[in-house]
């Protein structure tokens, strides 16, 4: 049977991808950020999953205003990096895990979560930056990846509660998959940031640290936090942290913290990163 072996969170700031692509990770500005991922890169090599289920948001790349799915699962065989305006990021083609993705899709829709099924799309920095942070710059990605896109740009995104419950449903689906494979769940985005309006540049480290604590120890209570609290206290773009709750829902009620990293800033964003294992 399939097993969920770890849950991971990380920010997915585009400038991080550019720093990796342009060989700037050793610069003073970037050094402290990447240092916090050294442990994680080794952890991935030592605990390589067969499949990563990667929760992210598309940034008006594959999904612009012409189509806004709240939840979209990638069931395709492969995905290319999007040209977001400066050419596609120079990263390998992402190989999907269609058998597992189609299985999860059917299970989760029957569980009352109305997913949009996507077979052909490109993936932007929200998806490729976490892969680069954890896997570096390989010729081929070392495992299969299922993209799971969440609308957090056109208000309202799904509630924290719905994300948490969806994570539980995804977990039940993975547990019921017959193949003997290891799966990691990655929740990406955040932490506090605001990229627009006169209040651009807002950072709230206190909120971010509390969010990580609550995500680990009190996720059901955290899932009740209304959107307005994210918007007011973590910035208009900080609301994308609801995606972390999908990951947390897919983990056991009790988890063990394996690694934590927090750094301000990457461009305008507070970067948070966790690795959790089921306890």
């Amino acid at each position: 049977m399939a097993r969920v072996t770890a849950g991971l969170t990380t920010s997915h700031v585009p400038a991080i991808g550019a720093a990796i692509d342009l060989g700037k990770t050793g610069e003073d500005y970037w050094k402290p950020l990447f240092k916090g991922f050294e442990f994680s890169k080794q952890y991935m090599q030592d605990n390589m999953p067969d499949v990563v289920f990667l929760i992210y948001n598309d940034h008006a790349s594959a999904f612009d205003l012409s189509m806004i799915p709240t939840f979209a699962i990638g069931c395709g065989e492969s995905y290319e990096s999007t040209d977001e305006g400066w050419g596609p990021r120079p990263v390998p083609t992402v190989k999907g895990a269609p058998d597992l993705a189609w299985h999860i899709r059917q299970h989760v829709i029957q569980d009352d979560f109305d997913l949009t099924t996507v077979n052909e799309m490109s993936v932007d920095h929200g998806f490729t930056v976490p892969l680069s942070l954890l896997f570096g710059q390989p010729k081929e990605w070392p495992c299969l990846v299922i993209p799971f896109a969440v609308n957090v740009i056109v208000y309202p995104p799904p509630s924290g509660r719905r994300c948490f419950e969806l994570g539980k449903s995804i977990r039940r689906a993975i547990d019921a998959f017959d193949d003997d494979i290891n799966v990691q769940i990655w929740g990406t985005g955040g932490m506090s940031h605001q990229l627009q309006g006169q209040r651009a540049g807002l950072i709230n480290s206190e909120f971010d640290h509390q969010f990580m604590e609550d995500l680990i120890h009190r996720p059901a209570e955290l899932a009740e936090m209304p959107h307005i609290d994210y918007q007011r206290d973590a910035g208009s773009e900080g609301i994308e942290l609801v995606m972390w709750l999908i990951m947390r829902g897919a983990m056991n009620a009790k988890v063990r913290e394996v690694h934590r990293h927090y750094h301000v800033p990457a461009s305008s964003t507070a970067v948070g990163h966790l690795i959790l294992e089921n306890a």
Binding site: A15, A60, L65, G85, Q196, L202, D233
Partner: protein, 131 residues
């Protein structure tokens, strides 16, 4: 009944909700068109002519040509769409954010390195009014 919008009292913040997305639809989709190199070239060669191909309001066209991103946001635009314009102009998202914060790029970048804009005084519009 109008939509409930508890976020209207957050200072310096416009939430990209249904009303804003409806208002800014064509302006944002114009930004999306700049993801194609040939469109970027055509736009930069004659911005007015390119914009006239889109059913945008005159006010929207003016703020686009002025690169007035705060103005664009007030007319229904969103930063992830503006990003396509930042890149067309060979600018970064950080640059775009700094213009909306009404700071120079260097000042804004330094503010972020120093820990970002603090929450205190920035939670409610009334906090600012109270001085």
């Amino acid at each position: 009944m109008p939509l409930e919008k508890p976020y209207l009292d957050i200072p310096g913040t416009t939430v990209f909700d249904s009303d804003m997305a409806r208002t800014g639809y064509h302006m944002n989709q114009f930004c999306i068109s700049l993801m194609k190199a040939e469109n970027r070239e055509r736009f930069l060669a004659d911005e007015r002519a390119y914009l006239d191909e889109w059913p945008m309001s005159e006010a929207q066209k003016k703020v686009v040509m002025a690169r007035d991103y705060l103005g664009m946001q007030s007319l229904g635009g969103n930063v992830y769409y503006f990003a396509k314009m930042f890149f067309t102009d060979k600018k970064s998202v950080l640059y775009g954010s700094s213009t909306m914060a009404q700071m120079s790029e260097d000042e804004y970048k330094q503010m972020m390195i120093d820990g970002g804009r603090p929450l205190e005084g920035n939670r409610f519009i009334t906090e600012k009014d109270d001085g």
